[in-house]
Amino acid sequence: MTTADASVARPTTTALPRKKIRWGEQIVHLVLFVAAAISVLTTVGIVLSLVLPALDFFREVSPVDFFTGTTWAPLFLDAKFGVVPLVVGTFVISFWSALVAFPLGLGVAIYLSEYAPPRATSFLKPILEILAAIPTVVLGYFALTFVTPFLRDQLNVQVEIFNALSASLVLGVMLIPTVATLSEDAMAAVPRELRDGGYALGADKLQVSTKIVVPAAISGIIAAFVLAFSRAVGETMIVLIAAGQLAQITFDPRETIETITAFIGATGNGDVPTGSIEYKTIFAVGLTLFVITLVMNLISIRLVRKYREVYE
């Protein structure tokens, strides 16, 4: 019995000697890991660079005043640090741009995914990419010097020179590629059998698109919406140039407003002395912005994972 055991075991032990450690391979592995860790360090850096000065800020200004105050005048002699007007301004911009980007982006996605012939797709997609690639400073300039006069003179909309409406419209168009590409990815992941099943039951293309494909891809589409909204919240140049810097609580998009990002851009631009309350304000407001977008991004990431799990 023992000899039989030994004869079975021996060939494996002699054929496969102890694995030699290849130091070169180990070093490569380590180098790769370090490269990947840089992204984590970036996040840590962002969090630290926001939180530390923000804590300093909250030592001087009470968080309650900051988050509930309705007057934003940090650079005045009698400084007021109520962030509500900035948050309202940010959401007004995001709301109106979402109103443009969601339906239009979804329409483009349905067209590309369900209707467009392959040859059309092959040149429509690059055009969408070009739209997505236009630098935001150029879009801001366009909103200020073309869209605002156009609204005033051609459409007779009484807008201020700096107004939320122009910025939102241009921002909305800028977000169409984001919504369209991500939604189309989700629709492309819907299995063909679902569509064929619909057709077999006598549904037409409209019904298959709106009652089968869109519902089946809904988590991906919502992820696209959430991500686009988050990008609208974080967009700086268009609102800085076209929407103005007047922090006020108004829901009328024709008026001048100020968003969180516009405040950061306008204040960071000047030579604010390090350690001053103005300097710290940038970080407290930036932290608010980071938290808002972080929550939305995590929701979006989770939703994308959900549809991937269902169909792939």
Partner: protein
């Protein structure tokens, strides 16, 4: 909506269905039209407004408070430097990260999953937040100051997730049979990656890197934060003050004088030419080297 037929009526059903489908398709074409129409109007408007100011003076001159004499040479040069820095830093780090995540990382481990989610999230962090990071850490923290290098580092961080995501997709597209073939011939893991996987994914990586570069070159907000200052009357150096082309355009936009608005449009034309030609190269590369395994 043409025929008003009772629901389920066979006689009225067919044309109504037809019309509903036509209107729906038209609506979607309308969506495309709004997107592309705006793009066309934007390009034409910028071109028409900026054309008169597009001169040799603008390309080679120094900034000035007089619109007729103003040029953007320091800004254009700085933008080219920034682009070079972004490529230099972001491609190696981005590709190595992608290789790690695709080829080496064990997804059972929590830290590898964390790296993944972290990169997805970084891709969606507003660019201006990177600007705050740059202001706190690079410019004031380690005291590099408002120099080209600081701007290049911040833009690298902004586009790094884009490079990583594109490189991962390119690496993932290489079929496993290639790897197994190489392993069967006795290659080590790194030999497989370096000699088989990476060469096969270069077109995808190049496309993604160029797209990331084009985004970095057009990025304004973070540069404002790390102090690309308004008035620079000399050529930039790596460790010197600078202004970049998008920041220059922004500053011209802020001037009330209409001549400066024209200059802003002319600057926008230069920026658009740089950015869109990069995109064209990327799209060309992707179509040219699209590999069917």
């Amino acid at each position: 909506m043409s025929a008003v037929a009772a629901p389920g009526s066979i006689a009225g059903g067919k044309p109504r269905r037809l019309w509903r489908n036509r209107i729906f398709k038209l609506g979607m074409l309308g969506c495309m039209f709004v997107a592309f129409g705006t793009l066309a109007v934007l390009l034409i408007d910028t071109l028409v407004t900026g054309w008169p100011a597009l001169s040799k003076q603008l390309l080679t001159g120094l900034p000035s408070t007089v619109a007729e004499e103003a040029g953007a040479r320091p800004a254009i040069l700085a933008t080219l430097y920034l682009g070079a820095l972004v490529l230099f830093f972001s491609v190696p780090v981005g590709v190595l990260t992608a290789i790690y995540l695709e080829e080496y990382a064990n997804r059972e481990r929590w830290w590898n999953r964390m790296i993944e989610v972290n990169i997805q999230n970084l891709a969606a962090v507003p660019a201006i937040v990177y600007g705050i990071l740059g202001l706190a850490f690079i410019v004031r923290g380690i005291g590099v100051g408002r120099v080209v290098l600081a701007g290049g580092l911040i833009l690298t961080l902004v586009v790094l997730p884009t490079v990583v995501v594109a490189s991962r997709e390119a690496i993932r597209a290489v079929p496993d049979s290639i790897r197994q073939g190489a392993f069967a011939l006795g290659a080590t893991k790194w030999q497989v990656v370096w000699r088989q996987v990476l060469p096969a994914s270069i077109p995808g990586i190049a496309t993604g890197s160029i797209l990331a570069l084009s985004r970095a070159v057009g990025e304004t907000a973070p540069l404002i934060m790390v102090g690309a200052i308004t008035y620079v009357a000399f050529n930039p150096t790596l460790f010197g003050p600078y202004t970049a082309l998008p920041v220059q355009i922004y500053n011209w936009t802020k001037q009330p004088d209409v001549d400066f608005q024209t200059l802003a449009a002319a600057g926008a034309i230069i920026l658009l030419v740089i950015v869109l030609s990069m995109n064209a190269v990327a799209i060309f590369l992707r179509n040219r080297y699209r590999k069917q395994w």
